[in-house]
């Protein structure tokens, strides 16, 4: 009972954290807006003003994009760790990010695209090609072999990574720099248009993942036991892989490569609230969203007027955190 109450408090607390993080991030940015200014500018009766435009068309889309991507990446991490039964699995392990990076970098360097939406679409296409390739290799005779999945994914990631290097080498200086920045992750290109697409992807995918949580719990025992508890093992594995990949692909298309959210968030939640996916998935969704909103706020402010790539911020937070987890022997425990 105590545990159940703790989890209820956890869900409430994390929801609150997300709301507070998003509100706080609204007050952060290069344009110095005071809290009263923000409050007035956001009143529905307030007329058009530069402050209102900044809040509605610059900061808010960014915040929403960061929340959705972080939430999606964290849930994607949960799914990959459950599917591969490997605590080190993370959304980008299986080549999703390299595929997306090659798509985006190629588009940027070759000047094939018009605007950020085009880059996002090219990234999505790259990610989907990587996902499909890995799936084709690991899926045989109605079964998804997770050992093959890891190996194929890592190798495909190297292949696309090499492709990125090649394109960057051949590209001209200026485009090469913008392409390189893309691979480090940023919400600078976020727009409402992209957010609608991102939400249309991530929210249903996260809900579907939540619906699988009992099956994921059973799979965490072992595949045979899961089957005896009523899980269609191969179907659940296939769906988890596709959901996890699509969540990661959507995030990476909008924001570039942002590491560690999918690794760090689910592990932190497990440490505090346990391994039950019925709680792990919604909690990771909320915490992942909060983490990226805060990381993006930090990325915008720590080196003003420069903007640090948000991937750098999450890695700088993520690596020490992960080393502490390793030190505590957590990675040796299953899930």
């Amino acid at each position: 009972m105590r545990r159940r109450r703790n989890r209820a408090i956890g869900i409430l607390g994390l929801s609150l954290l997300l709301v507070v993080a998003m509100a706080a991030a609204l007050a952060v940015g290069p344009a110095n807006l005071s809290l009263p200014e923000i409050w007035t500018a956001l009143q529905p009766s307030a007329g058009e003003s530069p402050a209102r435009a900044i809040l509605l068309w610059v900061r808010m889309p960014r915040i929403v994009a960061a929340a959705l991507s972080g939430a999606g990446l964290a849930v994607s991490g949960v799914l990959f760790q459950a599917l591969l039964r490997n605590p080190l699995a993370e959304p980008y392990l299986l080549g999703v990010s390299s595929g997306a990076a090659l798509g985006a970098v190629a588009a940027l360097s070759l000047g094939l695209t018009v605007g950020p939406v085009g880059v996002a679409l090219a990234a999505l296409a790259g990610a989907l090609i990587a996902i499909a390739t890995v799936f084709r290799v690991a899926y045989a005779a109605g079964q998804l072999d997770t050992r093959v999945l890891i190996l194929a994914g890592v190798v495909v990631a190297s292949f696309f990574g090499a492709g990125v290097m090649l394109v960057l080498t051949l590209a001209e200086g200026r485009t090469a720099r913008s392409a390189l920045l893309w691979t480090m992750g940023s919400f600078g290109q976020a727009s409402w248009q992209m957010n609608v697409a991102l939400a249309a992807y991530s929210v249903p995918a996260a809900l579907a993942a939540f619906g699988l949580s009992r099956h994921l719990n059973a799979l965490a025992l072992d595949e045979e036991s899961a089957a005896h508890l009523g899980t269609e093992v191969e179907r659940v594995k296939k769906i988890s892989y596709l959901l996890a990949s699509l969540l990661a692909a959507a995030a990476v298309s909008v924001a570039g490569v942002i590491g560690f959210v999918g690794l760090v968030v689910p592990h932190a939640i497990r440490l505090v609230w346990g391994v039950d996916h019925r709680y792990l998935i919604p909690m990771s969704f909320l915490a992942g969203g909060s983490l990226l909103v805060l990381a993006d706020a930090a990325a915008r402010t720590v080196a003003q007027p420069l903007e640090v790539p948000v991937g750098v911020v999450t890695a700088l937070i993520g690596v020490p955190f992960f080393l502490v987890l390793l030190r505590r022997g957590y990675a040796r425990k299953p899930l």
């Binding site: 009992r214 719990n217 036991s225 089957a227 005896h228 269609e232 346990g274 391994v275 299953p334």
Partner: protein, 272 residues
């Protein structure tokens, strides 16, 4: 008839010898059937065919008249509870959480456990005498407690059939008796059970029917006294085995006694 195998063959991919070579067995409802035989005889493969996690390459494996592998797992799980082999649990969840998984086939996705589910879970915990351990992590349980927790999880599925694969491996005498007692009670209350076991004398004592497998073939099937015979067991296990009928202190049963090779009467009579 709950389970039925007809001339079932199965060979694992990339292995030379078939694990099962044309086995036919019928497992009637309302009975306790024990499957015995030497290591590598194909007992676990037989269970997998019955449960539909493997499909025979020729012949058939039916559950309630329908090919076992064609059953939706959810429907199968409402009828058949399984205590599978496997090492100690590694997932740090509570005993009650572990047993709750037995309700998976009944709960809709996104829905919480209902009143009936909770009752079944607490009933299963009570039946397996685990109430006091309910909030303990399964990773902290002893071997006997783990097996009881698996059995409780199977009970929570509200099944008509239990299938147990070596439920008492590595357990001491008391825990062995406990498990067999629970299974026997389940059958006496109207259920059916199939138990794979190495314990010939407990099989003889608690099961209604025995199936003796060796080398992928069904060597003998029938009542304990029909199957537990010295010459059959000695041949199948390749070791001299005596079967002694015992009626001591109200304890009637067959006792299976492996004999020392040197003391084998059939050998000592051989000319040297």
């Amino acid at each position: 008839m709950s389970f039925e195998l007809g001339d079932a063959w199965f060979r694992y991919p990339r292995s030379g010898e078939p694990a099962l070579r044309g086995v036919s067995v019928e497992i009637p409802a309302g009975s306790h059937t024990a499957v015995v035989g030497p290591n590598g005889a194909g007992k676990t493969t037989l269970a997998r065919l019955l449960l539909g996690t493997l499909r025979p390459q020729s012949g058939h494996a039916l559950f309630e008249g329908r090919p076992a592998a064609d059953w939706p797992r959810r429907e199968m799980a409402k009828r058949v509870g399984v205590v599978a082999q496997g090492g100690p649990p590694v997932l740090p969840i509570s005993v009650s959480g572990f047993v709750e998984m037995g309700r998976n086939p009944y709960v809709r996705p996104w829905a919480p456990l209902g009143e009936e589910d909770r009752e079944k879970v607490s009933g299963a915990l009570r039946r397996a005498d685990l109430e006091e351990l309910a909030s303990r992590s399964v990773t902290e349980l002893s071997g006997g407690e783990v097996q009881r927790a698996k059995l409780a999880r199977a009970f929570a599925q509200d099944p008509t059939v239990l299938v147990l694969d070596e439920p008492t491996a590595h357990l001491d005498v008391a825990h062995e008796m406990e498990i067999f007692r629970l299974v026997r009670d389940f059958v006496d209350a109207g259920g059916s059970a199939v138990t794979i076991t190495h314990s010939l004398h407990l099989a003889g004592r608690f099961a209604d029917r025995l199936c003796l497998l060796a080398d992928g073939l069904l060597e003998a099937a029938g009542s304990p006294s029909e199957v537990l015979r010295s010459e059959v067991l000695s041949r199948v296990f390749d070791w001299p085995i005596e079967v002694v009928a015992l009626d001591h202190a109200g304890l009637a049963g067959l006792h299976v006694v492996p004999v020392d090779r040197d003391q084998d009467p059939t050998r000592s009579e051989e000319p040297t």
